[in-house]
């Protein structure tokens, strides 16, 4: 329980941030016109990850999957930013 709670809280925070950054990056003009709606989505998204983490069978799986998701989204964002 505690491990899943920490996974959701600690890894959910960057995951929500990275997903929103990725979404904005893919929108026209790097999503400048949608910045505030995206920021408003941040807390609901983080909370959803916190709650979602309890769906995992155990803490280890939660850490592995959410950690992996963080790495994938971060990687995608990094690649997209390379040319620009």
């Amino acid at each position: 329980m505690i491990a899943r709670c920490l996974a959701g809280t600690l890894l959910g925070f960057p995951l929500a941030a990275l997903l929103l950054a990725l979404l904005l990056h893919l929108l026209p003009g790097h999503g400048e016109a949608f910045l505030i709606p995206a920021l408003i989505l941040f807390f609901p998204l983080w909370t959803a990850f916190m709650a979602g983490a309890y769906m995992f069978r155990n803490g280890l799986r939660a850490w592995l999957v959410m950690g992996g998701a963080n790495a994938v989204v971060f990687g995608a964002l990094w690649l997209l930013r390379l040319p620009g």
Binding site: L18, L35, I36, F42
Partner: protein
């Protein structure tokens, strides 16, 4: 969903509720009152007892500001009075922090926005429990926990929601009645709670969040992007050529005319901002409240020299970013729909406070030993904490009203008395709930709150009756409204007191709320009589 997952969410709901519930109770009770911020301000300073400097004009205030502090002309703001009985004040950034001053305070400006305003103190209780700096972060964490409690609550109740939603099983099983009331209020006001969990977290944790997101995901570009998305002040450089400035009245009139062209029906200015005042390129911004629109606070930026409009962020001339940003405030403060929405927010706010109170009662009820006279220690502790904190904060806020009223009549600054009364009564109520048998403490604290709240309102009505008759302005109606609401709240507290007393006398004896089971020992180990 699997039963095990459901149980996990039940645990999450319980723990987040327990951790955040007490702070949320205070935030919701004080928040419900904060909806009527301006009415409480009018109650403290009615037209016949106007605040100091209330009659000083805006232009005089500006003259004194610039004469005393000429270096602020590059950037300063003026908070317009909320009614004719209050004073406008200027604010600016000094080297060591923000300064605030009305016309007569220019020589010794304040470091706090409002020192003796009851309405602002109630607001501070709402957003930070009245604690400086740390309180705001604390309430931010509480908002996040609240969001999680909300989400887990929905997940638990979703399966049987359709079936049980309209069921109110009034009967011998008190736990089920509390559960039904808790669920019904939770579901009916769900959109309202979603708004508060999201905007509450944003308002309280805004700076930290922006800094973290900037580092984690936005490559250091978030601050500039955010500034661009929310900017209303056009960037200008001073020309160095002095020029005449329009009067504040002229600027306000021009802003209002411009705002009304943007699809809004009202525009009540509440704030002005000046950049490079006295220069040919000076900018003046006027912010105003518009009703019946989502972006309730709009801004018009003009040249302060000739009144040319430089930017309009009102009504249908908002960008998507602008309207999202403005609607955060409108939705949180219920400022978008006049009196009807204010009353709705007031009632939903009180309902929210009841939601957290009933959550604690449910926790106690579900841990009750039905066949034993003595109850577990943790339910005693929870009962004492719930009574002390929840009823105690209602009593404390009424105490702040009384202290403000007395201080104003004695001609003393109300800032310290209102805080002393509020925190003193709160701590006193907590101590009382710890020492007294809990069933008695509940009833007595409820009666005390009922008596203090309604007595305050009745005395104010009686003392001011002749002034109210003479004045008869819309402001007077606001004062009467606050007093009548106080009387109504007093009656509600009295009804709660009577119900609690009845349960203590005739309810199930195997409960922390029963008089017969009330433990004589302070720790509440639960040995009867």
């Amino acid at each position: 969903m699997k039963a095990a997952t459901l149980r996990t969410f039940q645990t999450v709901h319980t723990w987040t509720g327990l951790l955040a519930g007490f702070a949320l109770f205070v935030a919701f009770y004080a928040g419900a009152l904060t909806v009527f911020h301006d009415d409480i301000a009018a109650w403290q300073n009615p037209p016949w007892r106007a605040a100091a400097d209330a009659e000083v004009s805006l232009d005089t205030l500006m003259e004194r500001l610039l004469a005393q502090h000429p270096d602020v002309r590059d950037d300063f703001g003026i908070i317009l009075p909320r009614d004719g009985s209050h004073a406008a004040y200027a604010y600016w950034e000094a080297k060591d922090g923000t300064r605030f001053a009305t016309a007569s305070q220019m020589e010794a400006p304040r470091t706090e926005a409002a020192e003796n305003e009851l309405a602002d103190f109630v607001y501070a209780l709402h957003d930070s429990l009245g604690l400086p700096v740390i309180g705001l972060y604390l309430m931010g964490i509480v908002s996040v926990l609240y969001g999680l409690a909300l989400l887990s609550g929905i997940l638990i109740h979703l399966p049987q929601l359709a079936k049980d939603f309209f069921a109110m099983r009034v009967g011998r099983n008190l736990k089920r009645l509390w559960q039904d009331a808790h669920n019904a209020i939770g579901v009916i006001s769900l959109p309202f709670h979603v708004i508060f969990a999201v905007t509450g977290a944003l308002f309280c944790l805004f700076t930290i969040t922006l800094v973290s997101l900037n580092t984690i995901a936005f490559d250091g570009k978030l601050f500039d992007a955010f500034a661009r998305a929310t900017a209303t002040t056009p960037t200008v450089t001073a020309s160095g050529t002095p020029a005449t400035m329009l009067t504040t009245d002229a600027l306000i009139e021009r802003a209002r005319a411009e705002a009304m062209k943007s699809g809004v029906t009202t525009f009540e200015p509440d704030y002005m901002h000046f950049v490079h005042y006295g220069d040919r390129n000076a900018v003046a911004e006027v912010r105003g409240l518009s009703q019946h629109t989502l972006g309730s606070y709009g801004t018009v930026a003009m040249s302060a020299h000739d009144g040319r409009v430089l930017g309009t962020y009102v009504g249908d001339r908002y960008s998507l970013n602008g309207i999202s940003y403005a609607s955060l405030f409108g939705l949180h403060f219920g400022s978008f729909g006049g009196r009807t929405v204010q009353w709705l927010y007031f009632i939903l706010g009180l309902g929210g406070a009841f939601l957290f109170y009933s959550g604690n009662l449910l926790w106690i009820e579900s841990r009750r030993k039905r066949r034993h006279l003595d109850q577990p220690r943790k339910t005693w502790v929870m009962a004492r904490a719930t009574v002390g904190v929840c009823i105690g904060s209602c009593l404390a806020i009424s105490g702040a009203f009384v202290a403000t009223w007395v201080a104003e009549r004695l001609g003393v600054d109300a800032g310290v008395p209102q805080r002393a009364a509020c925190y003193g009564l709160f701590l006193g109520a907590c101590a009382y709930a710890c020492l007294r048998p809990v069933a008695r403490a509940t009833v007595e604290l409820l009666w005390a709150t009922a008596a203090l709240t309604s007595a305050m309102a009745i005395v104010d009505l009686a003392v001011n009756a002749s002034a109210m008759l003479h004045d008869g302005s819309p402001l007077t109606w606001r004062v009467i409204g606050v007093d009548l609401t106080g009387i109504a709240l007093g009656i509600v507290f009295a009804l709660f007191a009577r119900a609690a007393a009845r349960r203590a006398r005739t309810g199930d004896a195997n409960s922390v709320w029963a008089l017969r089971a009330a433990s004589p020992s302070a720790t509440g180990s639960g040995l009867s009589q």
